[in-house]
């Protein structure tokens, strides 16, 4: 048995798309490129970086508790904790403290997490995700009113909506539910570190993978205030964090960015409101709404 050969056969489609299939995407790119010459390329970066401050500049009132906490996090035998890390820890502790003040509204199994976000191309996504994964979830992507229904998974079965063989449409297929709410997420920083590190060999060194997991939890899942605070405190333990003291998110909101870079130039960035330390989004997605609703298409 050659699993690589079997996997290759599983890859569909096998044909490359034609020029017509890509025309719309190309037109959007060309539109973005026009008129940006002779300007600083950073101005078209999703995060409009005006100034990077690795240390200092944290003028927010009410951070005393967070700073104390950050100092407490520094290993006792390490008098030379890297300064950028300390600074990032301060911001994340403030964000964790802000998270604890959020309303605690865990959804009922029959409810939905409603999220609205803006992406790098300016398009708006909306999603209604079933809290327990058994109800039909809905995504509206972009400005073309594209809707994707994701059938709920009940008792391990879900309805087939799309299939090349029309006979399969409407039949039931095996499935695994994707709940938008996981009540079992850890509520302590150590518990969350163990949870995040669990699938990466028990460490936080895989910053790319961890970054994606954090992004998923913060944006695509309902995470209760104590779980969210634990998550942000866990992020504070990732090695090599830096702070962008002055960033704008994709929706143009001012914020403080927490980022980490790997040697090859890869970067994960999370933005928090500079006043409230509320989570605003990432370098590819600005969170515009995040609420528990009763029905698909409800917005509040």
């Amino acid at each position: 048995m050659d699993e690589m050969l079997l996997l290759r056969e599983f890859a569909k489609p096998s044909e490359l798309p034609g020029r017509d299939d890509l025309a719309q995407a190309r037109a959007k790119l060309v539109a973005a490129t026009i008129g940006t010459a002779d300007r600083e390329p950073a101005t078209v970066h999703p995060f409009k970086r005006r100034k990077r401050v690795l240390w200092g500049g944290l003028t927010a009132v009410g951070l005393a508790a967070a700073i104390t906490a950050a100092v407490a996090l520094a290993p006792a035998d390490n008098a030379v904790l890297p300064v950028p890390q300390a600074s990032a820890v301060v911001v994340l502790r403030a964000a964790a403290a802000a998270a604890l003040k959020l309303p605690d509204t865990p959804p009922r199994p029959d409810q939905f997490l409603y999220t609205k976000s803006q992406r790098a191309n300016g398009l708006i996504d909306e999603r209604w995700s079933s809290a327990d994964g058994t109800r039909d979830s809905l995504s509206k992507n972009g400005d073309e009113d594209q809707e994707f229904l994701s059938p709920g998974c009940k008792n391990g079965k879900q309805v087939v909506l799309n299939a090349n063989d029309p006979k399969l449409i409407g039949t039931l297929a095996d499935c695994t539910p994707f709940p938008a709410y996981n009540a079992a997420l850890p509520t302590t920083a150590d518990g969350m570190v163990a949870y995040l590190a669990g699938q990466y060999g028990g460490t936080l060194d895989n910053v790319n993978g961890i970054g994606k997991d954090v992004r998923y939890l913060l944006g695509d899942q309902y995470v209760r205030p104590d779980q969210r605070a634990a998550l942000l405190e866990a992020v504070a333990k990732i090695p090599g964090l830096g702070v962008d003291q002055d960033v704008k998110d994709l929706a143009g909101r001012s914020g403080v960015g927490i980022f980490w870079e790997s040697p090859g130039g890869g970067r994960s960035e999370f933005v928090f409101d500079r006043e409230t330390y509320q989570y605003l989004g990432t370098e590819t997605e600005a969170v515009l709404a995040y609420a528990i609703v009763d029905n698909v298409r409800d917005r509040s």
Partner: protein
């Protein structure tokens, strides 16, 4: 007919696009088909059309940070696309399960042996979907970039910004897990074939 940029490598075009931004369209023309197909393989073609465009917009925004020592931009673009896939795990697993559920079109007049083959293929696809869904995201990224997209270890390392050693270890782990899922179910497969045959 070829444009003046055709003969240049990607690094030179990306560097030139810092001052002449419209040159970046050449990067799209060279690589968009592969990036769109990759996204379609992971998320289905509808989402892929949208995300392929987004991949290039992000790449355009990040072009000042492109390392010109890489003359081929495709691994870099695969990396950006893979990050977008990471935000849509649910759709990804759904796509694999859907692909398994669709299977090959049934042929009403086919011989029993062909039915058996078809059942085997269908069951195999379901196992592959289960195996892929069961991998950690990092392992799955490495596995599909190598198995589906034909990237070298070094290219995957550049795409995902991880050391080559990590690519090897993730690939080994992923292959082992996929093999385990497939072999555990050999018995189930043969039973299904005999029932239908």
């Amino acid at each position: 007919m070829s444009s003046p940029g055709e003969a240049e490598d990607d690094a030179k075009i990306i560097t030139a696009s810092l001052h002449d931004s419209e040159r970046f369209a050449t990067i799209f023309d060279r690589h968009a088909p592969h990036i769109q197909r990759y996204l379609a393989r992971r998320l289905g073609s509808q989402i892929a059309d949208d995300l392929a465009g987004e991949t290039f917009l992000i790449a355009f925004g990040k072009r000042a940070r492109y390392d010109p020592k890489y003359t081929d931009a495709r691994p870099w673009l695969y990396g950006i696309a893979t990050n977008l896939v990471g935000q849509r795990r649910r759709e990804e697993v759904r796509e694999y399960r859907l692909r398994a559920a669709v299977g090959a079109p049934a042929d009403e007049a086919c011989h029993a042996e062909q039915v058996a083959e078809q059942v085997t293929a269908q069951a195999m696809n379901e196992l592959l979907a289960t195996a892929l869904a069961g991998l950690s995201e990092g392992d799955r990224d490495v596995l599909v970039l190598i198995a589906w997209e034909g990237l070298s270890y070094e290219e995957v390392a550049a795409a995902l910004d991880i050391p080559v050693g990590t690519v090897r270890s993730r690939l080994n782990r992923a292959r082992k897990k996929v093999r385990a899922t497939l072999s555990q179910s050999d018995q189930t497969l043969s039973e299904e074939v005999s029932n239908h045959g």
